[in-house]
Structures are given as structure tokens and as C-alpha cells.
Symmetry: C2
Subunit: 559 residues, 2 copies
């Protein structure tokens, strides 16, 4: 009998009612004396070296008290601790659902010098023993996989694993899609200067064969490893791309078995040592979009920056996990950000969220956040199987600053659409090539720009010419850290993972399933059947499907 994971409906709670009332007249940042120096200094919080400045949100002490109340009434921190300890949090009450544990946090619970807080211990003791045992086993499995990775990377480094000419491997092609691609890719791009000399990773995801072709065209395949990543071992895109990649290797006179490794579920169709030089494992209790810190990220990122670099990244993530158990909601960075996110989405009604990292290394970080946030919280049904009475997860989008300033900031500042913004910035650059022009460094200019836009969005500007008016009152926050490193990146990743999970807890939705991806898969299969047999009985019974194929010009050959 598993522990029942609480699923409290927030709507009748006092704090929820208060917030509904406060949202009628949210704090006016443009009012004289509203956005003061004192407010900016007061409204901040910190964790793991990150400073979160939120004076430019549309909240005052009353709003913040109500938001903190919502966290308390929904028992957000306690439920996060239950989730980490091993409760079956991936479920919908009263309906068939995945009904699983959510144990990605275990993949970075590896550091004996980072003890867990008493809350977690207390919560664990109240869990059903089977769940607590399974969570402990997950942690042991994470340790085992890390050891497997350490040995493998060492063998690659020391020339014990080589190509058939005894040469070491310089490149790794990572074949995966969704969670097996976006997160590891984003992290890889963000750790540029921390990569081992001469090591490169290439991420291939798209079913479109051009993706693979483009990458393999420029590679020396004889010194390339291919890492195929699929939890189920049956992902259509990944299997197709693997087949294509193996063909490229055979055409180059190389034996794929010498070059291919994989990350897959234990016992999946891919879990086959005859076909792969090494098999790493992932597990059902780790969702794809939460799997960067598992072997899904570990193999390609460890190849790129070495085992030690990957451990440093995990250490940063673990630090943020522990910070996520801070009981005071306004001093718990991911929870505070989640509360502000719920305020902006459900109470103020803002449909989208722009994440704007002022760091070129984070070029593809938002593409990862899109999956993390939208696949987790783009849900219409609560944990109780009822239609959600409020809007949930926002549309997440964004590009790095300062680039975005020259692209879409026009809309942020002057259109009728209000887009809450999350700015991320670093005080120092990554590559040590900063340069002083006109008396300031590039990095000072970057910071000046991010602060300027936060201020402009909040305050706006009156002007005689209507085309030069800025309405203001556009909420944003800024997270600053000293520098983008594997450690701080790990913290940032876990910050967003835990923020998203907290929002799901506040909204009382299940952030860990993805039923919305099923229907398209079924219909795609039907279209493929029609293409293989356009005059068969199945096709004839589906005139709409046939018409769509015909209109798209896909049936020309057969008519």
C-alpha cells in the first residue's frame, strides 16, 4: 500500500481567495515612489551563489504574505520532501495513471559532505517502507551507474577503449530526442571552456534525416563514438537515426559494434551488449525532461568535460535540491520563483513567460526549459482528475540577451501583450576574453543592459508622442551569479526543475506524465499505414486521412 501523495485543491484556501482579491489591483510599479532603492534592496533572496532580485514584480508585502500562505496551505515544501524521499507523486487520483515514483533527485544525491536536512529524514520515516526502500535502491543504482561511467571514461581517456586501429575517440554523436537531447545539448553548449581539449559532442535528434547527414558529413567517423539514448528502446526517431548512423559507419568500412554505446532502460530492447560497446541504464522513475543528471546527460557530458566536470555539475544541482527544502517560502529560491510564476500566470493571467539569459553559453537553455516546463505543467486536469479551474503552465520562450533586445523586445515594451520576464546574468564572462571599449568591459555592458530593461519594463515612460510611450508594469525578475561554471549551471538546472515541480504542486497538477503526446503518435502510425497501402481497407475507411495525404502531395505516385 503506497503512501498517498496529498492532492489538495487550492481554490478554497484562504491564501488563494486573498490572491484572487489582490489580483484585482496588483501593485503598480509605475506609481510615483513605488519602485524605490529600498524596495530593490529588500526584495531579494539567495541560494547557491545566485541572487534573485524581484523588486520589479507586481507584488507588495501583502501579496508576498498571501503567496507564502499559499505555499504553507498547499504544504509545498513538505510535498517536495515526500517526492524526493520516494512517494508515488506521478499519479492522478482515482484514474489509471503512470503511478510511479519521481526520483531524479537521487541521481545527484551522491555527496556525503552535503547532508540532507532533518525534514527529509522525518518525511522518509513516515513513508510506506516499500517506497522508502525503492528510493534507497534508486540512489544505490545512481552510484553504480556513476561508477560504470567513471570506469568507461577512464578507459576511453587512457586508450583502453579505442577504435580498431588503437586510436582514441575524439568525437561523440549523441542520438536521442526530447529529454534525451535538449537538456544534455543545452548543458554541453553552456560549458564550452570546460570541455576537454580535442573533445567534441554532436547532438542529433530530428527524424528529418538531414539532421544526421549534416553532422556526420564533417566527421572522422573512425574516431567517433555514437551514443544512442532511449529509455524505452523503441523511440521511432532515435531508432531510425541509429539505423541511418550505422549505415554511415558501414559505408565507411567501420564496424558499428566498435563505435556504438547506449543509454536505455534496464531490460529494454536496446539493452543488448552484443550491439553496443557499453550500455548505461536509466529508469522509469526518472522522467525524460528531468534526466540530465542521470546517465542520459552523464555519458555525453562526461565525454565532453570529463568525469570530474560532470560531478561538479551534479554537486551544483544537489546544492540547489537541498536549498529547495528551505521551509521559509520567501527564502526558498525555486519555491519563491514558483509562487511568482503562479501569481503571474493564474492570478494576473499572463499566458507566456520569457526566459532571457544574458549569456551566449545559455543559447539553447530555453529550448530545454520549454520541454521541462511545458511538458510538465501544460496540463488541463488536476491531480484529482478534474478540469483545472485556472490556467496552468505558461508558454515558455526566449533567446539570449543582448541578442533578444535587437529582436523581440519591441513587443515586450510596447505591445498590449504583457510578458513576464526572467532574466539570468553573470558578473564575469566564461572565456576570459572580456574587453574594455569606451571605458567599460563587455560584461559591464551586459549587466547594464539587463538592469536597464528590467527597469524600463517596470517603470515605462510617459511621452507626448504616443509612439514613444511605454506603459510599464511589466513584471520581471533577475537571477545573478558570479560566473557560469559546471557547478552554477547544475544549480541553475535544478533551480528550474524544482521551480517547475513546485508550480505543479501549487496548481495541484501532475507534472510528471505526458498523456498529451500520445494521440499524435497513434495518428502518425495511421498515416504511415495509408502511405504503405493507400488503396487498402484501412485507408478506404479513413477518407479524411487520405484527403490530407493527397492535399499534401504525398499520394502523387499512387494516383
Amino acid at each position: 500500500m503506497p503512501t498517498s501523495f496529498p492532492a489538495p485543491d487550492p481554490t478554497p484556501m484562504d491564501s488563494f481567495q486573498t490572491l484572487t482579491r489582490l489580483a484585482q489591483h496588483p501593485f503598480d510599479l509605475t506609481a510615483p515612489g513605488a519602485l524605490t532603492a529600498q524596495r530593490v534592496l529588500d526584495l531579494q533572496a539567495q541560494a547557491c551563489g545566485f541572487q534573485l532580485l524581484y523588486g520589479t514584480q507586481r507584488v507588495n508585502q501583502e501579496t508576498l504574505a498571501a503567496l507564502a500562505g499559499l505555499a504553507k496551505e498547499t504544504q509545498a515544501v513538505e510535498r517536495m520532501a515526500q517526492l524526493m524521499a520516494g512517494a508515488r507523486a506521478n499519479r492522478i487520483e482515482g484514474w489509471p495513471s503512470e503511478d510511479r515514483q519521481v526520483l531524479h533527485h537521487a541521481t545527484r544525491d551522491l555527496f556525503s559532505d552535503m547532508p540532507e536536512p532533518p525534514l527529509l529524514t522525518r518525511v522518509r520515516e513516515r513513508l510506506a517502507p516499500a517506497e522508502a526502500d525503492a528510493a534507497r535502491a534508486a540512489r544505490e543504482e545512481a552510484v553504480k551507474q556513476m561508477e560504470h561511467l567513471r570506469v568507461f571514461l577512464d578507459d576511453v581517456m587512457m586508450g583502453r577503449i579505442t577504435n580498431n586501429r588503437g586510436e582514441t575517440f575524439t568525437d561523440l554523436v549523441n542520438v536521442g530526442i526530447g529529454g534525451s537531447d535538449l537538456g544534455p545539448r543545452a548543458v554541453y553548449m553552456a560549458v564550452g571552456p570546460h570541455r576537454l581539449r580535442g573533445r567534441q559532442v554532436h547532438y542529433v535528434s530530428n527524424l528529418d534525416s538531414d539532421d544526421m547527414s549534416r553532422h556526420l558529413a564533417g566527421l572522422n567517423l573512425s574516431r567517433t563514438l555514437v551514443n544512442v539514448v532511449s529509455k524505452s528502446g523503441t523511440t521511432l526517431e532515435t531508432l531510425t537515426n541509429e539505423t541511418l548512423a550505422r549505415r554511415f559507419f558501414r559505408e565507411a568500412g567501420l564496424d558499428p559494434a566498435q563505435h556504438f554505446i547506449c543509454v536505455t532502460g534496464q531490460g529494454s530492447p536496446m539493452d543488448n551488449p552484443a550491439a553496443y560497446r557499453a550500455c548505461f541504464h536509466m529508469f522509469d522513475y526518472i522522467g525524460g525532461r528531468y534526466s540530465v543528471t542521470s546517465m542520459v546527460g552523464g555519458v555525453s557530458l562526461g565525454f565532453a568535460m570529463g568525469y570530474a566536470g560532470f560531478v561538479e555539475f551534479l554537486r551544483g544541482a544537489r546544492a540547489m535540491d537541498l536549498a529547495s527544502l528551505e521551509p521559509d517560502p520567501l527564502n526558498n529560491l525555486p519555491l519563491l520563483a514558483a509562487l511568482l510564476g503562479v501569481w503571474n500566470r493564474s492570478f494576473l493571467g499572463h499566458e507566456t513567460l520569457a526566459v532571457l539569459p544574458y549569456s551566449q553559453g545559455l543559447l539553447r537553455f530555453v529550448a530545454h526549459l520549454q520541454q521541462l516546463d511545458m511538458e510538465s505543467n501544460g496540463k488541463g486536469v488536476t491531480r484529482l482528475g478534474q478540469e483545472a479551474p485556472y490556467p496552468t503552465g505558461p508558454v515558455v520562450w526566449g533567446e539570449p540577451g543582448t541578442n533578444g533586445q535587437h529582436a523581440f523586445y519591441q513587443l515586450l515594451h510596447q505591445s498590449k501583450t504583457v510578458v513576464p520576464c526572467e532574466f539570468i546574468a553573470f558578473r564575469r564572462c566564461q572565456w576570459n576574453a572580456d574587453i574594455e571599449v569606451e571605458g567599460t568591459t563587455s560584461q559591464q555592458k551586459v549587466l547594464a543592459n539587463v538592469l536597464a530593461h528590467a527597469m524600463a519594463l517596470a517603470l515605462g515612460q510617459t511621452h507626448e508622442n504616443p509612439n514613444k510611450r511605454f506603459p510599464g508594469n511589466r513584471p520581471s525578475w533577475l537571477m545573478v551569479h558570479d560566473r557560469l561554471t559546471p557547478y552554477s549551471l547544475g544549480s541553475l538546472l535544478a533551480f528550474y526543475e524544482n521551480k517547475v515541480a513546485f508550480q505543479g504542486l501549487l496548481w495541484n497538477i501532475n507534472s510528471f506524465d505526458q498523456e498529451g503526446v500520445q494521440l499524435g503518435k497513434v495518428l502518425a502510425q495511421r498515416f504511415l499505414s495509408h502511405l504503405q497501402n493507400p488503396t487498402g481497407a484501412q485507408a478506404k475507411a479513413d477518407p479524411l486521412g487520405l484527403a490530407m495525404l493527397q492535399a499534401a502531395g504525398m499520394l502523387e505516385d499512387s494516383t
Copy 2:
């Protein structure tokens, strides 16, 4: 005395009123018998080899008649012709504004075998002579710049322009931001197999010095050209990055004057032959986000795919420009798409637009569209200087399919937020490396997937389990072409440029200025002054600014 560019308020028009009424009960795609084979075959239009299938939009014949009526009543096609012919379309009536012509179409009006339609000739004859003359001069200037480019590229190819050891150039670093970066970069990534052998372009934009460092770290600078692109010749990011790049060259013992070329406004501070090996020109009448087909795109794209490849791209764009003058709104592809966009945004109230190209080559095409659309139509004021009474440009976002399916489609299908989708697909792959797995090719799988999701979004699915229900009625359209080539890519680029401009005409807003980017620039300058002199009088007079710098940890050294 310039021709007055019409600025009709659409709200009192019959069609606008009808659409407002129809939007109360939009066509229900989920009703039995609503989405039929016949409807799919009927609701399509074509131009330049593209097929636009829009049976999955929430429109019926009555809606379409009213949308066509809106195009007629706002004289959308005539005004597009006036704009192309040279009317001063970049203006706000009664207020100081840029008050310029909008002549990016002239950059591809180069083909005597593609005659202009009578409408354009007729409209030109009614223009003020000075405007018509200026437009003609712009066309001649485009021809001249193309000739300059042809000679330059030939000199590079034939070894008449080389480094100081007489070696040819293999790489080009393009330094620009916003319109001088996003469009050319998107096109470069989309023409992979059409690149000249051994030629590579690297786009650097971000003020963050890591962007430049990351790119130059792996390059042989002695065989690298740097193309600096800034219309004003004063763009902060670009000048800073140029300074940084010149330092890298000097440190490598190379003379920057031998390696640097530029694209800038005639007479700008950068227009200096002593500092650049070649200077190409762009002009005030071409907006940055509409400048891909000018020298802004021409230099890097011509270097990448040769002069002939770039001409092919322009030819595709020109074909779509001519198709944009088709008088029947429902047979004018960009206008039809604009009408559907206005219907979804202003009448049905959908705040965002997802552009989902099922082609890996279009990986960064949406980043370009974000600037094109959001900087053009993210406006709050009409051409008459009044607050727009309806929402205008949507938030544009998206990633290539099938990747996106494994990321954010969950939200598209099941959340309460409705996101109109624009799918783009090709029947053949680019790299000729398609592969058959389980009886179908990758490309067939790609098309089956895009059709499946269009169908799933429209029809939805009922289910006993609330978590497996799909509400449906989520509008989308699909544009299909045989193949992504320089020509079809040119057409696609011009399709979106003209679609966005049509939407601006329908909304009666100015799509060609960007006042919303000014305030941030001013404030950034103020923050930079504070950083240089944190105890000076200016800083002391701005306690809020100082507090923000302090909270961000930027004043630590001075306190």
C-alpha cells in the same frame, strides 16, 4: 509633397463587425462531420510551389468571405503595391516618426524575366514623382551592390583577394546583431548542402564576449574574413565585438585591414575604405529585419553558397513578392495567412503563434521570425497615433518538428491555452540520405507526423479517463513544398515578410519602426555611467539605479 499612405481604421468596417460577431461562435472543428475530406481538399491555396492547407483553421465560408471583405475594405493589396512602389509607408500620421520609404522589395527586383503585374505599374504612376524616383534609384542601387558583390566574390574565389601569404579565405565571421544576424544566420543554416566546398560562415552577435571567443577559438584566423554589419555604423554590440575580433587578429600577428570587410550605411562612421578591404552599402529605406536579401545577407550568404546561389535565393523571394500582389485575398498566400493570423489573434484572442518547421535546416528560422514579426507588429499604437483597440502581433515561438513533439506539444494538445500553429514541411529531404525503416522513409515519417498533429489538434479526442482527453479545436495550417532549396527558402522568407507586412496593414499599425527599443538603450547608458563613476553627481541623483547595481553585486569593488 509625398503621397499620403492610407491609414484606414478597420473597426467601423462591415467586415470587421461581421468578424466580431462570427468570433462569438467560431467554426467547431470537433463537431461530427465538420472536418471532412472535401473541406481539406477545398481549403487550400498555392504559390511558388508552396501548398497552404488550412482546413484545420476555425473558419467556414462565411468567415472566409468576411476575411476577404476585410482585405478589400482595408485595400490591403493596393497598399502593399503602393509600399513596393515607393510610398512613405513607415510613418505615424500627425506625429514625428521615421517617415521613410519601405524598399526592401527592391533588393530582389532584379529579374527582367519576372515582369511586374499591371497593378504595380498603375500604382506607381499615381505616386508623387519624387517617391517613384527614389524607389527607382533604390532598385538601381540594389543592382549596383549586387555587381559589387559579384566582383568581390569572384576575386575571393579566383585568388585575387587573399591573405598576405596569397592563400584563399575559407571562413567568414559575420559580426552583427538583430537584423544583421538572425536572418542571414537562419538562411545559412537552411542551405547546408548548397554551400561551396570548404567554405564556412560563423555568426557572432552577442555583446557577451563569450560569443566571439567561442567562435574564434577554433578558427585558422589567417584564412578568415570578418564581415562587420551595422547600418548605423554605431551599434554598441557590433563595435565592441569588432574591437575584440581585431585584437584576436593582431595577437595572431595578422593585419586586420587585410581581413575585415563591412556592410554599412553610405557615409556612416564605418564607411571607411582605409579600415576595411571592401565596404558594401545598405540604406535607411531597408529595415534591419527586412534586410536578408540586401547586402546584409548577401555578403555572408554569397561567401557561403556563391553568387549564383544567392541569386537563386533572391529569385525565390521575388516570385513570392509578385504572388503577394494577387488581387484575390484567398489566392494570395501571404495575405491569406495574414488574414488567418488576424482572425486568430484579434478575433479569437490567441496570444501566441507557434511556427513549427518539420525540417532541421530551419532550426533557427523561427528566431528570425521572432524579430520579423514581433518587432514589426508588437505595437500598441495605430498609424493614426491612437491606442490600438485590439491586440496586434502575437508572441512568435517554435522549434523544428519532430523535436518539438517530444518537448512542448503536451501543452499544445492538452492545456487550457490555445496556441495556433503554422506547420511547414517538405516532401523530400535536403541531403539525399533518406532511409527506409519499417517500410517507410524518414521523410514519409516526418510528413505523417505533421499531418497527425494537425489532425489531433483540430479533432481532439474524447475519453473516459479525463487525463486522456484532448479538447481539440486548436487551429493550425500546413505549408508544404517539394524541397528546401535556396529558391524555396527565398520564397518562404518573402512569404513571412509579406505576411507580417499585410498584418500590419490590416491592423493599421506601422510595421516598420521600433520605438520600443529606445528606452532600454538610454537606461543602459545611464547604468554604464554609474559603473564608471559610482560616487559622481549623476549616480547620486539616481538612488534606484545605484540600488539595482548594488543588489546585482556590480558595485562590490567600490564599496
